[in-house]
């Protein structure tokens, strides 16, 4: 005797990226315990993420103790550029992957001596869409746009704009040469995210970087006192 198959519909509600998010939460706890402020830097290829980190590491020299994780599809070039300014740089080769995932960050962190580190930069794979949805355990997401990409990119990438804790508009030194509508760009950002701070910077000329550094310092302090409050409460 053969029995007919029964068709069953099993309802449930479960986040698809739950496994990733659980690892990210473990990383976030570990970083918080060590007092490390972690920035996930997301932007298009060529927007200037590595250039910004190179300049940032130089400006922070002697003041903060940073480590850097760099996600890249195939090469080690970004890692090599950054290793000139920081002795704790780990390159994560993602192969085909268009974004970093929490397990890659967790594994890369095992190669860092976190003792004494107080700031972590994660340069995500160059992409304005895919990285946004994957929690890495960061404290803050920083979205980077640049003048050479065109002024419609905020409107075309609403997830990054709404998810970001800070937006950078890089290559501001090129403003005289390009017809980038900064007012229109900012208006698009404000429609999607009325409160996100925005900074115009140039990673290569240094313009605006003091405000970026000030944001990092302020945000780290705010985060640390929030964490203390939580521990007390």
């Amino acid at each position: 005797m053969s029995e007919p198959a029964r068709t069953l519909r099993l309802p449930m509600v479960e986040r698809v990226l739950e496994a990733n998010d659980e690892i990210a939460d473990e990383t976030r706890d570990e970083l918080a315990r060590r007092g490390i402020f972690a920035i996930d830097l997301i932007g298009a290829p060529g927007s200037g993420k590595t250039a910004l980190l190179e300049a940032t590491l130089q400006l922070l020299k002697g003041r903060r103790r940073p480590a850097v994780l760099v996600g890249d599809l195939a090469t080690r070039r970004d890692g090599d550029r950054l290793a000139r300014w920081c002795d704790q740089v780990v390159q994560i080769s993602t192969g085909e992957g268009c974004h970093l995932e929490a397990n890659q960050v967790r594994d890369a962190l095992r190669q860092v001596d976190l003792e004494g580190v107080d700031l972590l930069f994660i340069e995500n794979v160059g992409n304005l869409i895919c990285p946004v949805g994957f929690d890495l355990g960061q404290t803050a997401k920083v979205g980077m746009f640049s003048l050479t990409e065109g002024d419609d990119k905020a409107a075309k990438h609403p997830y990054l704009v709404t998810a970001a804790d800070l937006l950078l508009l890089n290559k501001i030194d090129l403003a005289p040469h390009l017809s980038f509508d900064r007012v229109g760009f900012e208006a698009d950002v404000r429609l999607l995210n009325p409160r996100v701070p925005m900074l115009e910077v140039s990673a290569t000329s240094g313009q605006g970087l003091e405000r970026w550094i000030a944001w990092i310092d302020r945000a780290s302090v705010a985060r640390a006192s929030a964490a203390r409050g939580q521990a007390l409460g």
Binding site: S2, E3, P4, A5, R6, T7, L8, R9, L10, P11, M12, V13, E14, R15, V16, L17, E18, A19, N20, G97, C98, H99, E101, I129, C130, G133, F134, A155, H157, P158, Y159, T162, A163, A187, D188, L191, L192, P194
Partner: protein, 114 residues
């Protein structure tokens, strides 16, 4: 292509939920507007990822949630498949609000056939 990673995560999740020996016929997910997911791309990845598994040939139903649009001039609220739209009142910049949910909401299986 993040659709591929999402299809992989989804396949692992579905496999964990499907009763042993069951054949998976259908999957239903809900996706917020912010995710920017392409249902067709996701289905292509789903077929590739599930090939040769108990989920092979299953249908992936994607409930893509629209944007909520709110006009600050006249108070109208409506939903739209695209975030930047004008309001009937003439305001060309009503604010779009999207969700970022990405949830598995049901699995349909054939169970116990012999």
């Amino acid at each position: 292509m993040h659709e591929f990673s999402i299809a992989e995560a989804l396949a692992a999740q579905v496999l964990a939920h499907a009763p042993a020996g069951a054949r998976v016929r259908g999957i239903e997910i809900v996706v917020g507007a912010l995710r920017g997911l392409e249902p067709d791309a996701l289905r292509t990845c789903w077929d590739a990822v599930t090939f040769g598994t108990p989920m092979a040939g299953s249908t992936l139903e994607v409930d893509l949630r629209p944007w909520s649009i709110r006009c600050s001039s006249c108070g109208r609220e409506w939903s739209s498949p695209v975030p930047f739209v004008a309001c009937l009142c003439g305001n060309s910049t009503p604010a779009p609000v999207g969700g970022d949910e990405l949830d598995l909401v049901a699995i349909t299986v054939d169970e116990g056939g012999t």
